[in-house]
């Protein structure tokens, strides 16, 4: 295969806005900043009003105090918009050695390494991408970045944007609504099955790796799509806050699976609001893996809004030194015969802390609904910590509700057994950890599963023995 040039100077296809001129809002957030963002992007009036209303909500609302410690976030010391073309790239020399080392060990090509570390421009996969894009377009699939969607598909956009997660939902969602930029917009027409996962990966560029991404997916009746975002390799960024919003609408009989693997560097607060609205006989699935970041608060939700709707949340958290992964899932049953499953697996090591936080709500009238929650925690040492905060609100008698939770430590007998076969303590621990998370990893696309596996073995080498 002939190698492609790594850095392209212009985009023939896709999402980048080559004409964008330099623009950066001043530090901090106020009405002028929001107006400037909207103006720069040439947005319609309604979007400006939407942003301003969200800003008001952001200013009124308090940060959540029931979860992880967020006191380290300084909203006044951030830039809320930098135009993509002028996004400052990090100097390769400034990228921490341990991150470079990880790239090498999990076998990421040099060109891609630079991209992941925020050095230089895009990782080139446009040739592959172009062919797929053509195929999707022929089916009527829309897959563009969210800014483009607002311009190109204004009616469709306005019909659904902000309907699943209103600006008033929470402080971070309000912040995102006020200053959002980038993210993906996807529309799958009725009855269309997209057989290859749509990957944000194909169009990754600095613009879309934004701090305040906004993703909106609409799966029309009887359609199917699997969307994959993120990456197992660590993403180095100097931004300290990632506050994204993901809204998904699953129409009657449709199915959407949304897979995320995030591995932000350890300076990032990763506070993301993700919610799916699932209509009659629809099926919505979240697969959410959180490896990096300093603090993660993320509880992907399914709102089961039609008879027979199904929702599933698979949450995987890996908390290492200095990390707090506060993750879980929510299922809201609003209609009869709806079913939900929440499965959470967490691994804590080196003093890391992971919390499962979840909610199941079944309203009066959601007859015959079923929900099952299972959360398992694995602690690798005495320093690490795991907590479980489940909430069940059930206002209907005719329901089936199950909850199982376990906390375990690496068993001495398991270690001895594996070591007696010649595996080092680190290799044996890695095997046990990988076995523990296998039920979730097997649902990931293969390349993610393989990388995750290597990554876990790598982190065991550092923490054991």
């Amino acid at each position: 295969m002939k190698s492609q040039p790594v850095v392209k100077t212009s985009y023939k296809y896709g999402f980048h806005k080559p004409e964008a001129s330099f623009f950066k809002t001043p530090m901090g957030l106020n009405r002028q900043v929001v107006e400037a963002i909207s103006h720069f992007k040439n947005e319609p009036e309604w979007m400006l009003q939407f942003r301003l209303q969200a800003l008001m909500m952001f200013e009124q609302k308090m940060l959540p105090t029931w979860g992880a410690d967020l006191s380290g976030i300084d909203f006044d010391a951030m830039y809320y918009y930098i135009s993509p073309s002028e996004k400052k790239f990090t100097d390769w020399g400034d990228v921490p050695a341990d991150i470079k080392d990880t790239y090498d060990k999990i076998g990421i090509p040099q060109a891609e390494q630079k991209y992941l570390a925020g050095v230089g421009a895009q990782y080139d996969s446009e040739v592959v991408y172009h062919n797929l894009k053509k195929k999707w377009e022929d089916l009527g699939v829309i897959f563009v970045d969210t800014d483009t969607a607002l311009t190109k598909y204004p009616d469709l956009f306005r019909q659904y944007f902000g309907t699943v997660i209103p600006v008033s939902d929470n402080k971070l969602a309000a912040l995102n609504s006020a200053v959002w930029s980038g993210g993906s917009f996807i529309y799958i027409p009725k009855g269309v099955h997209v057989d290859i996962p749509l990957q944000a990966y194909f169009r990754i560029n600095a613009a879309n790796m934004g701090q305040f991404e906004r993703t909106l997916i609409i799966a029309d009746e009887g359609s199917y799509v699997h969307y994959v975002e993120g990456c197992t390799a660590p993403i180095y960024t100097t931004d300290s806050l990632h506050a994204a919003v993901v809204e998904i609408i699953v129409k009657k009989g449709a199915r959407v699976r949304y897979t995320t693997i995030q591995n932000w560097s350890n300076n990032v607060y990763n506070l993301v609001t993700k919610r799916m609205l699932v209509e009659e006989e629809g099926f919505g699935e979240w697969i959410d893996g959180n490896l990096g970041a300093k603090v993660t608060m993320k509880y992907p939700s399914v709102i089961l809004n039609g008879k027979g709707a199904k929702g599933e949340v698979l949450s995987l958290a890996f908390a290492g030194k200095g990390q707090h992964q506060d993750a879980g899932g929510k299922a809201i049953h609003l209609a009869p015969y709806t079913t939900s499953t929440i499965t959470s697996k967490s691994v804590s090591v080196g003093g890391g802390r992971s919390s499962y936080r979840g909610m199941v709500k079944i309203i009066n009238g959601a007859k015959g609904s079923k929900s099952f929650v299972r959360c398992d925690a694995l602690l690798l040492d005495e320093l690490s910590r795991s907590d479980t905060y489940p909430t069940n609100i059930v206002n209907e008698e005719d329901v089936t509700l199950g909850h199982e939770a376990s906390v375990s430590k690496i068993g001495e007998e398991q270690l001895f057994y594996l070591m007696s076969r010649g595996l080092s303590e680190a290799a044996a621990t890695g095997l046990i950890v990988n076995g523990f998370i296998e039920p979730i990893v097997k649902e990931l696309p293969l390349e993610y599963a393989v990388e995750l596996n290597r990554l876990i073995n790598l982190s065991m080498e550092g923490s054991v023995g």
């Binding site: 068993g411 007998e413 057994y417 070591m419 007696s420 076969r421 010649g422 080092s424 095997l431």
Partner: protein, 248 residues
Amino acid sequence: MKNQLVITDLHVQTLDGIKILNGISLTVKEGEIHAIMGPNGGGKSTFAQALMGHPGYVITEGKIMLNNIDITRLTPDLRAKHGLFLGFQYPVEIAGVNFGSFLRQAMNENIEKGGKKVSPIAFRNLLTPAAKQLGFSDEITKRFLNQGFSGGEKKKAEILQLELLKPSFAVLDEPDSGLDVDALRYIGKSINGLDHKTGLILITHYQRILHYIKPQFVHIVVKGKIVKSGDESLAKTIEEKGYEGFSS
């Protein structure tokens, strides 16, 4: 000495100081089979676990030399790399760990640096006949390590690992307990058919397995000591008269 497992005056106690082995000495040469018999609670299993380096036991006196290398203080993985194997009496279940990939990883761990790793195809070619001889189907490699295995399958899976890992010495801790006649025959056949000259220490309660595997030496362990050693006829004596005549 090369090609020998030499255990000298081994004293072992638990972490809370309970003495279990009180000076066991035993030399096993390449290709030899030594049966260790004795009543319950005599220290047979502790002997096996201590040889492999179980962290719950402390060797207070004595020495274990494996192919001229002192392994007395080594961690279990290093003992394995020097050629020792333990067939567990109760193999532990490990969820989510694929039996086949674990076994291939273990084989590759034991290949010296720079040696050729076992490819998935080469692994399959080695595994299939060995598994078949034990009455397993290839399915075994797709299952999780010991998870959901029947008692017999667990014991047979230990022997399968022994066959593929080709250690120079192996301790088999009651490979016969809980087995039906068919499983016992499979195990006997596989051990007799090993294509490498593994020296075996076979720990057993019953003479039954010795119909299939013929030891050159039989040792009786009572209260943490070898109280009598002999040839195969010693096992017959025990079958007839029990352990009562033996004491430390």
